[in-house]
């Protein structure tokens, strides 16, 4: 007998599907690695070198970190290898990133007195704690004294720091640096691995837990992270009950005919409407119509300053709830239709009403499907940016939407959102090179946040499914 080969035997299909899965995995891993390397590599203390240059370029020596290498096409058709140097000191020696031709780099040495200082404004300051040309013994003791003073000052609150540090340039220039300005400082060339690691994690921690500074290009992303999570939670709280009730109606109560079928198709199609359209709808309906009416009914004394008639957290959550409603309905209905007819009949045959059957048998069985809906809705909702720009997300919100003042949850406030934060960093930032690693880091955090939110729902679903698993199937 001839054994079937190739497509007949299914080998081709097997290879194709394995290949597709591998490709997907590979792309996902690549995405995470790229985001992680560029984004979180940024927090690693980079070694600082003192560079000298070809005298023909008239470039004075610089303290800088190597960022990356690149090859540039020249106007005459040739190619030139260049290095991107991060030089900091945006206030005194702009620009803070420069591409320098490798050919013009003369020497680089790693001075243990080199220091990087994170400041409240103007980005990082790079320099030396002792003048470059002084005798080695003097340099070491001066650098140590300056460092001790800095550590002492950093232990105090910033208002109490009255002293300054003298920061030397690679060219021998000196300038005072008020310590009240300093957020954090480190001497990368003098650190061992343990110190580097601890600095690395404390910087990541600060990135996650601190508000942004300097037009979002410095500092952390906490308000954006918080705003995103809060908004997704509010959205879930709204969309889940509405979606479940709508699915119950469609599947259990609506007379199954052309009208219901049309309704179902309409719901499915809503899932495909571009999200910006939801944004426009949210602005027109929620913000102007509902919000405006609320204002004239309950907050008339505050007018013309709007209370709810302006983009805010509530409207953003409702808009996203609307956006994710189709997903929720479809997933729930799918779950309802998978429940065996026998269970339904068993309950009804015991004298249960339709409602009791729904309540005690059908809904508990459909819960995993509802959670699948929640997972899909969260994944979709947390990643949306476009509609939110119209209904409540801002570049910089002065206050968190949740705080200690009554009524604690301020649904009317505008808020920050990770997705929009990324967009803002990537396209609206005055300093592209400085913002770039933060774009990647924020993107990675957004992905991780969605993964975490989903993981919670997946675990809950697994728990619910496992409670009454048939051991045989």
């Amino acid at each position: 007998m001839k054994t079937p080969s190739g497509w007949r035997s299914g080998d081709g299909a097997l290879w194709l599907s394995t290949g597709a899965v591998t490709l997907t995995l590979l792309l996902t891993v690549t995405l995470l690695v790229l985001l992680g390397r560029v984004g979180f590599g940024h927090f690693w203390p980079e070694p600082l070198a003192t560079f000298t240059f070809d005298p023909a370029t008239e470039q004075t020596p610089l303290v800088a970190a190597r960022r990356e290498h690149g090859t540039f096409a020249l106007a005459d058709g040739g190619k030139e290898a260049r290095t991107l140097l991060r030089t900091g000191n945006r206030d005194t020696a702009a620009p803070d990133f420069r591409w320098i031709a490798n050919a013009s780099l003369r020497s680089a040495h790693f001075d243990p007195a080199a220091i990087e200082i994170e400041r409240r404004s103007w980005g990082p300051a790079l320099g030396l704690l002792a003048p470059p040309e002084a005798p080695a013994a003097n340099r070491a003791s001066l650098a140590a004294r300056q460092w001790a003073r800095l550590e002492e000052a950093l232990a105090l609150p910033s208002q109490a720091r009255t002293v300054s540090l003298t920061l030397y340039g690679a060219d021998g220039s000196a300038r005072p640096l008020p310590l009240a300005e300093v957020v954090r400082a480190w001497r990368p060339n003098a650190m061992d691995l343990g110190e580097k690691l601890s600095l690395y994690f404390s910087r990541i921690g600060a990135f996650i837990s601190e508000p942004p500074r300097e037009a979002n290009t410095e500092g952390g992303i906490f308000p954006a992270l918080f705003g995103t999570v809060l908004m997704v939670m509010l959205m879930t709280v709204v969309v889940t009950p509405i979606g479940v009730v709508a699915a119950l109606y469609l599947h259990e109560y609506a007379p199954q005919g052309p009208l219901t079928q049309t309704l179902r198709i309409a719901v499915n199609n809503l899932a495909g409407v571009p999200s910006i359209v939801y944004g426009v709808f949210g602005l027109g309906f929620f913000v102007y119509l509902v919000g405006g009416s609320l204002d004239s009914a309950f907050f008339a004394d505050a007018l013309p300053a709007p209370t709810f008639g302006t983009p805010g957290l509530l409207w953003a959550s409702l808009t996203l709830a609307l956006l994710t409603l189709p997903v929720m309905i479809v997933a729930t209905e799918e779950g309802l239709s998978r429940i065996p007819r026998q269970l339904r009949e068993a309950s009804l045959a015991l004298g249960a009403t339709h409602f009791e059957t729904l309540r005690y048998v059908i809904l508990p069985q459909a819960l995993p499907a509802v959670l699948t809906g929640v997972i899909l809705a969260v994944a979709r909702g947390a990643g949306e940016v476009a509609p939110l720009m119209l209904v409540g997300v801002v570049k910089l919100a002065p206050e968190l939407p949740l705080d200690g003042t009554f009524p604690f949850l301020h649904l009317d406030r505008q808020f920050m959102h990770l997705g929009f934060h990324i967009y803002d960093l990537a396209f609206q930032s005055p300093n592209v090179e400085a913002a770039r690693p933060l774009v990647y880091a924020s993107a990675l955090l957004l992905v991780l946040m969605i993964v975490l939110l989903n993981l919670g729902a997946v675990l809950l679903r697994a728990y619910l499914r496992g409670r009454h698993r048939d051991p045989l199937g």
Partner: protein, 262 residues
């Protein structure tokens, strides 16, 4: 065919009276003018080839057919004299009086205890002691208590198929119905479980009026007092089980029980 002699019972000894019952699905007749009287506290078997309308007849008694769209029911069914097909009848109350067990064991994905307590709780019984007492009684009546008394909190889905079917019977009798409908209760089970179900049917007949659908003639012969033979939606013959199997009146009955078709 309607001139075929059928059994008559004293009203005091009958539970269900079916008169001229016709049922159709989407205009397709499944039962044609069936009339019979089901005796009280006896086991009555419905036999006949697959698709002859046994389940349809059974499901008419507790109005499970109401759930199916396009179904049309004509004629009369009376439970102890009350018309149960009338539109004003409270169907949930009716279903509490007429319990039903299906072909496939269909326990709820809940614990053994909760399964049996389901119907009781629906009726508002919430006292834990009373629930425990009733559940134990039902499980004992279904000859399942000894096997599950140590695992009342385990999921019902961990029981074997035969145990599940007895659990479902316990669940049905927990609310103490007057009539118990069993639709091929053993056809999905192994021979030993089948035997247990058959024994159970015999025991339950002392307290309940039982109607059991089966396409297994030996089973009908073993468990029932009376047997009705249905063919192509019509009631062909209804008599005492011994008579039907030894002295069938109708030609079709004889052909069926001698295995010439079906």
């Amino acid at each position: 065919m309607n001139d075929m002699p059928t059994l008559a019972f004293d009203p005091a000894d009958s539970c269900l009276n079916v008169e001229q019952l016709s049922v159709s699905y989407d205009g397709k007749a499944a039962l044609r003018e069936v009339s019979l009287t089901v005796p009280r506290h006896r086991v009555t078997a419905f036999i006949g080839p697959s698709g002859c309308g046994k389940s349809t007849l059974l499901r008419s008694f507790n109005r499970m057919n109401d759930l199916i769209r396009g179904v049309e029911v004509m004629g009369q069914i009376r439970l102890f004299g009350e018309d149960i097909l009338a539109p004003e009848v409270d169907v949930t109350a009716l279903r509490r009086r007429i319990g039903m067990v299906f072909q496939q064991p269909n326990p709820f994905p809940m614990s053994v205890f909760d399964n049996v307590a389901y119907g009781l709780r629906l009726q508002g019984l919430s006292d834990q002691r009373a629930l425990e007492r009733e559940v134990e009684w039902a499980l004992r009546s279904a000859a399942l208590w000894d096997e599950v008394k140590d695992r009342l909190e385990a999921s019902a889905l961990t029981l074997s198929g035969g145990q599940q079917q007895r659990l479902v019977i316990a669940r049905a009798i927990a609310i103490r119905p007057e009539v118990l409908l069993l639709d091929e209760p053993a056809s999905a089970l192994d021979p030993i479980s089948t035997l247990k179900i058959e024994e159970l049917i015999g025991q339950l007949a002392e307290a309940y009026s039982i109607i059991v659908v089966t396409h297994n003639m030996q089973q009908a012969a073993r468990v029932s007092d009376y047997t009705a033979f249905l063919y192509l939606g019509e009631l062909v013959e209804f008599s005492a089980t011994d008579d039907l199997f030894t002295r069938p009146q109708a030609r079709q009955t004889e052909d069926y029980i001698t295995g010439r078709y079906g």
